[in-house]
């Protein structure tokens, strides 16, 4: 069933009321696993029914609670059979009732505060974890935001002359963009449309100056993601090209590994 078909089937309500057949129960549990968002729907239905039940409460006689707690929890400390031979009646009454009740009150307060401590300690831990996670996420966002702002400042620079390097027959789909600052000669490259580099290899930028190839530097990738990056500056250039070289670069370009190029 799709999620919508399942909701319309009414099985979730039967399940929440505990009257679904074993087969229906199985179907509901499968759908709860498949569509976790149904758990919220189930929870709301259960709470609605639960409140209906609570609003129809019939308080049982207090003796039921007494009998229940005696049945479950006596024996550890209150069992008269264990106590009688050890503590005599006279010794027992030696401690005034006033002090006994103070001791009991202190003990109850202690237990109560332990319960609270435990619950607050858990809450504190949960909050701390959530805070750490949020801070990590914030840092990541700030990093990627800074990188994006940098990229954008290059692209929008008024002196930036965009140059498109088109793919050669080796890599017809490849493409790279150069932003050449006309006032300073700085060269920025946007390599995001270059194919993935084989391991141990790296892209190298070349500028053809007076017919000779001059290295423009290596193109860095960090975690497989390309960002706009600054290369060596060129004052004058006839053409740009990018070749695939072994990591670290080569003194001269390997011409049959030229991936993209553009004439000026």
């Amino acid at each position: 069933m799709t999620k919508e078909e399942f909701i319309l089937s009414g099985l979730l309500e039967l399940y929440a009321m505990g009257i679904s057949s074993p087969e229906e129960t199985q179907i509901v549990q499968e759908h709860l696993d498949r569509f976790p968002e149904l758990k919220q729907e189930l929870k709301e239905t259960e709470i609605a029914l639960e409140n209906y039940a609570l609003s129809n409460s019939t308080q049982p006689a207090p003796s039921v609670k007494e009998k229940l707690f005696n049945q479950l929890f006596s024996g550890d400390e209150k069992n008269p059979l264990n106590m009688a031979p050890v503590v005599s009646m006279t010794k027992k009454s030696f401690v005034p009732l006033f002090y006994k009740s103070i001791a009991a009150a202190v003990f109850i307060l202690l237990i109560g505060s332990m319960v609270l401590n435990y619950s607050y300690f858990n809450k504190y831990h949960k909050a701390q974890d959530a805070l750490d996670l949020a801070q990590q996420q914030l840092q990541q966002k700030e990093k990627s935001n800074a990188a994006m702002t940098h990229d954008l400042s290059v692209v929008t620079n008024k002196y930036a002359m965009p140059v498109v390097l088109n793919g050669t027959p080796h890599a017809p789909d490849a493409l790279a963009k150069i932003f050449w600052m006309k006032n300073t000669g700085q060269v920025y490259i946007d390599p995001s449309n270059l194919p993935k580099v084989p391991s141990g290899m790296q892209y190298q930028l070349w500028g053809i100056v007076d017919g000779k190839p001059v290295s423009g530097g290596m193109i860095e990738t960090s975690k497989g993601i390309y960002h706009i990056q600054k290369m060596k500056s060129f004052g004058k250039v006839d053409a740009f090209a990018i070749t695939l070289e072994k990591a670290g670069g080569s003194p001269t370009p390997t011409m049959d590994q030229m991936i993209v190029s553009a004439k000026m």
Partner: protein, 182 residues
Amino acid sequence: MPETIKYSEEELVQLLQSGDQSAFEYLYDHYSGALNTVILKLISDQQLAEDILQEAFVKIWNNFSTYESSKGRLFTWMLNITRNLTIDTIRSKSFKKQAKIQKTENAVTYTSSNINENDKFDALGIRKQTMLLKEDQKRVIDLAYFEGLTQEEISKKLDIPLGTVKTRMRTAISVLKKILQA
């Protein structure tokens, strides 16, 4: 002290899993009335109902490790235990014998005991709000949720078409949900 502590569902489950007695006391104080209603819908014998309630809570405490919160809320689990225990008791032989003898006597106590159903929830106004349910919607919910009847059984018992049972049930539950959102 017990009145001032209020647990969230997760805290309660966690504490009960670790065998915390004060959490169990809270569980009893909070839910015994609702579970008692379920038993009394099925059984008119007050004394027997008290015994079943006590046994249900013994089961809840002893079998708490079998509760899986991924399958539903704690109350739903407790209600199923209580309801099954009550139904099993009714089906047992000794109950059938006794029921014959006590039938007339208890019919009277049952009705009178239901008149002073507790007013605990009036403070929250929820009790008043559940009055928004129409009587026939309430009847269908009570038979299913409290008495554990299937839709087919309800249809037979009330002598209304199965489709009507289904619609009434859905409408009633969506009314109950709306009360909570309001």
